[in-house]
């Protein structure tokens, strides 16, 4: 009985993380003042949302043994090995668990396929960049693509590449260029590619879940802010802000491609110009909250 109550609570926690929690965090204004902590909170929400759902399923599965969670898990393990994991379950529980297991398997498979595709696409991109790019003294540490459109990006990987187009070199002054390269170096050093990989991999197949739909966009923006901060440690914030405006207004990509998402550039420019002191206290509180959130499902089941 007690385990059924725990399962119900965990399910509620999972739904709260994936739905209203994600919507709240997406709308929150404070995140731009502590972008790194906010990213950790996004991650904690995702992990807790998944763990709590898994925990709820397990709790229901072991409740029938009536020996508590830990001992129940051992019984369940033995049942799985014997090939009769569903013995002793009522029909609704058995159906529910089977369905949950199937959904989990499909999700993992889809995520793995998407990740493999992303990693492959990155590998091809990396191979081409290495062969096609030229190195110039103008942009030390970056590979230059000879193309008139302005762009700059970091290609994630074990050895990340910072890529800048000739178009960007043309419109940026050297101080701005240095700030941009440092921004991309921030992405590389803090492994933002790894943060984004699971989010983008699960975001597409799970679009109907608010978390999966909102997290990739929100976290991408927060990571840009984190990289802005990284660059601002060594370069003038105003140089970076100016570079952002220059590049944002110079790119003449098809407007329809970006119209839907809305861009983070205005918010980032305002943030750079405002130059508020880092909100350390808030960041600490957010990190503490994130830690509590992740511990919650374990505590509920093992306590």
């Amino acid at each position: 009985m007690r385990l059924h109550v725990v399962a119900g609570c965990l399910l509620a926690v999972s739904v709260a993380c994936m739905g209203p929690g994600a919507i709240w965090l997406d709308r929150a204004r404070w995140t731009s003042r502590a972008p790194r902590a906010a990213v950790v909170l996004w991650q904690a929400m995702g992990v807790t949302g998944a763990l709590a759902a898994i925990g709820a399923g397990l709790a229901v599965a072991v409740a029938r043994y009536g020996v508590g969670f830990r001992a129940g898990l051992e019984h369940l393990g033995a049942g799985l090995v014997d090939g009769h994991p569903l013995t002793g379950l009522g029909l609704p529980d058995a159906l529910g668990l089977t369905l949950a297991a199937d959904v989990a398997i499909v999700l993992v498979a889809v995520a793995v396929i998407t990740m493999v595709r992303t990693v492959r696409a990155r590998a091809r991109h990396r191979m081409l960049v290495d062969l096609v790019s030229v190195e110039t003294e103008q942009a030390a540490g970056a590979l230059v693509l000879d193309h008139p459109k302005a762009t700059a990006y970091c290609l994630p990987g074990i050895r990340p590449r910072i890529v800048i187009s000739a178009g960007a070199l043309r419109i940026l002054r050297s101080s701005e260029l240095a700030a941009v390269v440092e921004h991309e170096r921030g992405h590389a050093c803090e492994h933002h590619g790894l943060v984004m990989l699971p989010l983008t991999s699960l975001g597409e197949p799970l679009r109907w879940i608010p978390y999966a739909r909102r997290a990739p966009v929100a976290v991408a923006t927060l990571l840009e802010m984190a990289a802005d901060d990284y660059s601002a440690r060594q370069h003038d914030r105003r140089d970076l802000a100016r570079a952002l405006v220059q590049m944002g207004t110079a790119v003449t990509a098809p407007a329809c491609a970006f119209a839907a998402g809305g861009t983070s550039v205005p918010a980032r420019v305002q943030r750079l110009l405002a130059d508020d002191p880092p909100a350390r206290l808030m960041a600490g509180a957010v990190l503490g909250g994130a830690a509590l959130l992740v511990v919650l499902p374990f505590a509920a089941l093992l306590a």
């Binding site: 062969l131 187009s165 207004t249 983070s264």
Partner: protein, 131 residues
């Protein structure tokens, strides 16, 4: 490994330099005199497996051409980088997205206080520390 990558670039440069005429291994090797014939052969073989290079038979010799021009590949990369390609998450979010015209106006105004940069005061300041 890194040396091989560097050599791949050089070989591609040679092939891109003669897009119209396919080259034999010997012709490529002559353009890169510091490297042995067999090394060039290995690199061309690798590039062919990566589908960067096409090989055709010409009598007893093989001739090699770049599969596509440097500009084509650059365009492909830029397309991906600007998010117009279907697999847009291949690349990390680029530095700046396109802003709308009205946003641009507001932003230029906000930056107005900083000067338009034509004064040149902040040019040529190199990064303070190389990481």
């Amino acid at each position: 490994m890194a040396r091989l990558g560097e050599l791949e670039r050089k070989v591609m440069d040679v092939l891109w330099g003669s897009m119209e005429t396919a080259m034999t291994v010997r012709q490529v090797a002559e353009k890169l005199p510091t490297y042995a014939y067999t090394t060039i052969l290995t690199v061309l073989d690798r590039l062919q497996r990566k589908q960067m290079v096409r090989r055709t038979k010409d009598g007893r010799a093989h001739r090699y051409t770049a599969a596509a021009s440097r500009e084509t590949y650059t365009a492909e990369l830029m397309l991906e980088a600007l998010g117009a390609a279907p697999d847009r998450d291949a690349v990390l979010v680029r530095f700046a997205e396109t802003v709308t015209e009205s946003e641009a106006k507001v932003l230029r105004l906000a930056l107005g206080g900083l000067g338009d940069g034509s004064d040149g005061t902040s040019t040529a300041s190199a990064p303070k520390v190389e990481r």
